[in-house]
């Protein structure tokens, strides 16, 4: 089936070349980091995780969100999502691959990566995160391959794949729950040590992921003969709306608990995010931008008129995605380290190599999505003329 990715229009190849160039830049930046050490990043003794781990966390959510099209279709026989499940699964594969790459580039000794498997340590949540992410990758690869192959041959998918698809549903929830447990089990970091972290992760995932899927559908309609149809997009929009409402609700609950109780070690992290702490306000404009984007998104999504209009819906989806990227892909990880357990606030600004490596990984993910969607649409004969 892969051969379908090897024939395509000029636009297809040009797009892949652009992505390829960004990937090459990322690889060069990584070689520099590999030679010098992680000191080429903006990370420090106090802020030990930054852009890489934050992207990993955000993308686990994108990966998990495939379940929002898979669950209604397979558990509730909701036929409207029939055309979308494969797009969701391919998005999941690309996102999980990016997650693994972000973990890999964050390692101080990447050549020792196999130690995680050579010395399996069940009391470490990182071990379980590896198990759940790998499992999710295998499940989605298998499911998308088998269902797409059946579609190509114009037959029903084999019966044995159904239980595997059903298994992928709780598995999707597990990848984001285990990722939240990585953080929420640390007594040293009060900012993350909250029982609502996993539910919050899931809510933000189930709004950012489907929002991205809506945008992909709109783009595919313009560039190809694939039309997801109005109804599935509107259904996805309702999922995005509810998930975003729940996410904002959860964030407000966190803010209330931390600020009203006013326990310094809980409140200070939020102060760092929204007003700045000890003269360090690097994230403040970002966090307020995120708050404004969330409000704008909710106004556009809750109002039926703007939700039904695909132009304003697209704007809402961009606002959801960017707003949540700031919240999770910047704020959530960095604020856990500010202030440090000894009360220090250390400036963290990602460096150029760090940004290039991150862009390279995102470009690689987009490359995979492009190729996968090309294959899926070729199988269905819906590629642009």
């Amino acid at each position: 089936m892969l051969e379908k990715a090897l024939v395509g229009s000029r636009g297809y190849w040009r797009w892949l070349m652009v992505l390829g160039a960004v990937i090459v830049l990322g690889v060069i930046a990584y070689l520099y980091q590999f030679a010098f050490g992680l000191g080429v990043t903006g990370l420090s003794r106090n802020v030990t995780w930054g852009l890489y781990i934050a992207q990993f966390t955000f993308l686990v959510g994108v990966a998990a969100s495939a379940v929002m099209v898979v669950l209604p279709y397979y558990l509730h026989d909701f036929k409207t999502f029939g055309k979308l499940t494969i797009l969701g699964e391919f998005l999941a594969i690309s996102a999980v691959t990016m997650c693994m790459l972000f973990i890999f580039v964050d390692m101080g000794q990447p050549t020792r990566v196999l130690n995680v498997m050579l010395y399996p340590t069940p009391h470490s949540l990182m071990f379980w995160d590896m198990v759940s992410l790998m499992g999710y990758l295998v499940l989605n690869t298998l499911i998308s391959h088998v269902t797409l192959d059946a579609e190509r041959n114009a037959v029903a998918p084999p019966r044995w794949i159904k239980p595997i698809i059903i298994l992928s549903i709780p598995w999707a929830v597990s990848i984001h729950t285990v990722t939240a447990f990585l953080y929420s089990g640390l007594a040293a970091r009060p900012f993350w040590m909250t029982a609502i972290l996993a539910p919050r992760f899931l809510a933000s995932a189930f709004s950012a992921g489907p929002a991205l899927l809506i945008l992909f559908c709109l783009v595919l309609r313009r560039l190809t003969r694939f039309d997801a149809g109005r109804e599935p997009i509107q259904r996805l929009a309702i999922i995005v709306t509810y998930a975003m409402l729940i996410n904002v609700f959860f964030v407000l609950m966190e803010l209330f608990t931390a600020l009203y109780s006013n326990i310094p070690e809980d409140a200070e992290h939020f102060k760092f995010l929204y007003v700045g702490l000890a003269g360090n306000a690097t994230l403040v404009p970002w966090m307020w931008a995120s708050a404004v984007l969330s409000v704008v998104a909710l106004v556009l999504l809750v109002n039926p008129k703007t939700r039904h209009n695909e132009t304003t819906l697209a704007a809402a989806c961009v606002a959801v995605f960017v707003g949540l990227w700031i919240e999770k892909g910047l704020g959530l990880i960095i604020a856990g380290f500010e202030p440090s357990p000894l009360g220090q606030v250390t400036v963290y600004t990602p460096t150029l190599p760090e940004i290039l490596i991150s862009l390279g990984i995102y470009a690689f993910g987009l490359f995979l999505i492009t190729v996968f969607y090309k294959i899926a649409l070729s199988v269905r004969g819906q590629v642009a003329a």
Binding site: S44, M107, Y119, T121, A188, L342
Partner: protein, 255 residues
């Protein structure tokens, strides 16, 4: 003090002997289990008692830090973000963030205090390490395997005391004077104080304890009621950093 030192040496020597011949000894003794004969086989639990008042007289003194840095090839970086620290000075109020020290003796609380790895009895770093590159010995020393560490820095996120350092770049060019008796580290691994396990195994005291002429640092067996550390803890009130977290630090600060 002399008496205590002799006792310490006897005990440490015995431990080294036991460790060396553990297999054969256990066989000879008919595989006694510590659970059954707890009293017969005494477990050692190393601990440190810090007396910050003794540091007040010589405020600029860094004898313990210098001794440690030299003994363990701890690099010195100009960039504070890349710092590697095993034992260092921290403002009293920052070291004890969870204590309200405003009205305690200002002579003490406005001065820095020495901090290092607490060698917790319930170490969060060991719990989170995905490769067992950091682990707790039977005598309570929390160890690091620099050859197994993958540099994920999960232990640094989990340590409530900021006691761990990461080699953000190759440390070797930044070591002032290399001590050939101790390994240097490579870039990309985490390191920290190990209570001088290499000296303990030879029956010697940690380098910082030996270096301190003011006797501000006392090292000994917490399980021995007659040890100097236990005597100090009996006679004076001591703080432990963030005791409420349940990590059970084995470093005590006399106030």
């Amino acid at each position: 003090m002399g008496e205590d030192r002799r006792r310490f040496l006897k005990l440490a020597g015995l431990t080294a002997l036991c460790a060396a011949g553990k297999g054969s000894l256990v066989r000879l003794a008919g595989a006694e289990s510590p659970a059954k004969g707890g009293a017969a086989k005494k477990k050692i639990r190393w601990a440190m008692v810090v007396d910050p008042r003794k540091c007040l007289e010589k405020e600029a003194c860094t004898a313990c830090i210098d001794a440690c840095n030299h003994a363990h090839n701890v690099p010195a970086f100009d960039n504070p973000k890349h710092e590697v620290k095993w034992i260092w000075k921290e403002p009293f109020a920052d070291a004890f963030l969870d204590q309200d020290v405003r009205y305690i003796d200002q002579a003490l609380t406005t001065k820095p205090v020495f901090v290092f790895c607490n060698h917790c009895d319930n170490p969060p770093c060991v719990r989170v390490c995905p490769t067992k590159a950091t682990w707790k010995r039977e005598d309570g020393v929390v160890m690091m395997d620099w050859h197994r560490c993958i540099g994920c820095r999960y232990c640094m996120a989990a340590c409530p005391y900021g006691s761990r350092s990461f080699n953000w770049e190759d440390p070797r060019p930044h070591i002032k004077q290399v001590n050939p008796d101790f390994p240097t580290r490579t870039k990309g691994v985490v390191e920290k104080c190990t209570f001088c396990d290499e000296l303990l195994d030879k029956g010697q005291l940690p380098a910082c304890v030996t270096a301190c002429k003011e006797k501000a640092l006392t090292f000994g067996d917490l399980n021995d009621p007659d040890s100097e550390v236990r005597r100090l803890l009996r006679s004076r009130f001591a703080l432990r950093r963030k005791a409420g977290l349940g990590t059970n630090p084995e470093v005590f600060y006399l106030v």
